[in-house]
Amino acid sequence: MIDWRPGASQALLLRRAELLARVRAFFAHRAVLEVETPLLCSRGITDPAIEPLCVSGGLSLGGSSRYLQTSPEYAMKRLLAAGSGPIYQICKAFRDGEAGRRHNPEFTLLEWYRPGMDQHALMAEVAALVCACLGEGPWQAFTYRAVFQQCLQLDPFTADLAALQSAARQLTDTGSLAGDRDFWLDLLLTHAVEPWLAGQGLCFIYDYPASQAALARLVERDGHTVGERFELYIDGIEVANGYHELADAAEQRARFEADNRRRQSMGQAERPLDEALLAALEAGLPACSGVALGLDRLLLLASGEADIRRVLAFSWERC
């Protein structure tokens, strides 16, 4: 018999509605404008670790295909460059192949941008929003370097490939895994740092290695180049990712091209660059910080459920 019922209880549906209302009240109070941008985009993301879903049938497509957005970042930056001022959006985002206890290929994202704020000011605002949703509580922030030193007694900026591999082999059977420094750093983060963060409540990690800066600005810190990027973890669950946003169009183009070279070397399809975004950066993106926060995960934490499928009316398997 077909299982037509929702995976979430009525109480959780109410909880979700209440969470959305709180988020909107939080931003209304701070005079941040709610916006909407398209879910279907003609330009996809170049990040080699994120795969979009593609829509390829339909008259409106005119023979080409479009991507379901993996985040509304590019479109929102075009609004910022056009003078929108502070903006937020609650929307669906899609990432291919991401499914598990904490992942659903289709999920709800809250993304917002704050002209004039640096990453630390935005971290404080993220903490305020989370407290408004989950209840007041303390929060802490560590650098990426500090958590690696704490959990693994190694310096992620100076440890060589062999040291990272050997630390990984202490944690799990790494079998035939092979990759560069970032690959092993990601393994150490998921296998050692995240379990440690599970006991740390509300915790930010910031100042990522330059190679993991994504769309963040680069700065010099203690002799190392770091990306002004942060991640929020709550009880070890990754909830938000933010940047002091890169505003330099030439640098942005270079990073997109580097992503595509990396994709090519790993046998992945290259992605066309979002020229409209690059033109907007050329015209001038105001200095700002931005963050994307997973609302389904926040609901997971608010409800004490262990599986994301329990907070979604209809998870991937049910629709």
């Binding site: 670790a49 992942h103 970032d182 750093l185 990601d186 393994l187 994504a214």
Partner: protein, 189 residues
Amino acid sequence: MANFSTNEFRPGLKVMLDGDPCSILENEFVKPGKGQAFNRVRMRNLKTGRVWERTFKSGESLEGADVMDRTMEYLYNDSEFWYFMEPDTFEQHQADAKALGDAYLWLKEQDTCEVTLFNGTPLSVAPANFVELEIVETDPGLKGDTAQGGSKPAKLSTGAVVKVPLFVTTGEVIRVDTRTGEYQNRVSK
């Protein structure tokens, strides 16, 4: 056999890894906010019984293993092999000592058990959870002692040694839990 990608790894799926058939026990998808996604997979090596965690890059795939469990009747053993028969086809299979492991301690002719076949050959044998076996050797019982407390070793027809209450005697048939090797009760003949 078909190939299975990490997102198809479900508990119970049998796959080939480093030449050995393995059973998936748990599969957890983990991904840092940005960056490489992994699957942390707990698995059992069906040849050695070893249970451990292996990490895969998400999207990697493994070949399925031709492994199936069959209920069979135990026939007999010679100096080298133990022989089993599929009750519906009467097809016979021979298992070596490695496949048997400790299971030989609980096998009585004509009993049914679970035989795991890998590429058509017995890989492991699991006896029924409860078996009834005759005691061939134990110290004489104390007459009338049916009270609680006190136990003694008893050797069974298969060679297994189990602890039994003092009142149980040689020649009696007892019921044993093969998972723990514990005496359950006497079986009236």
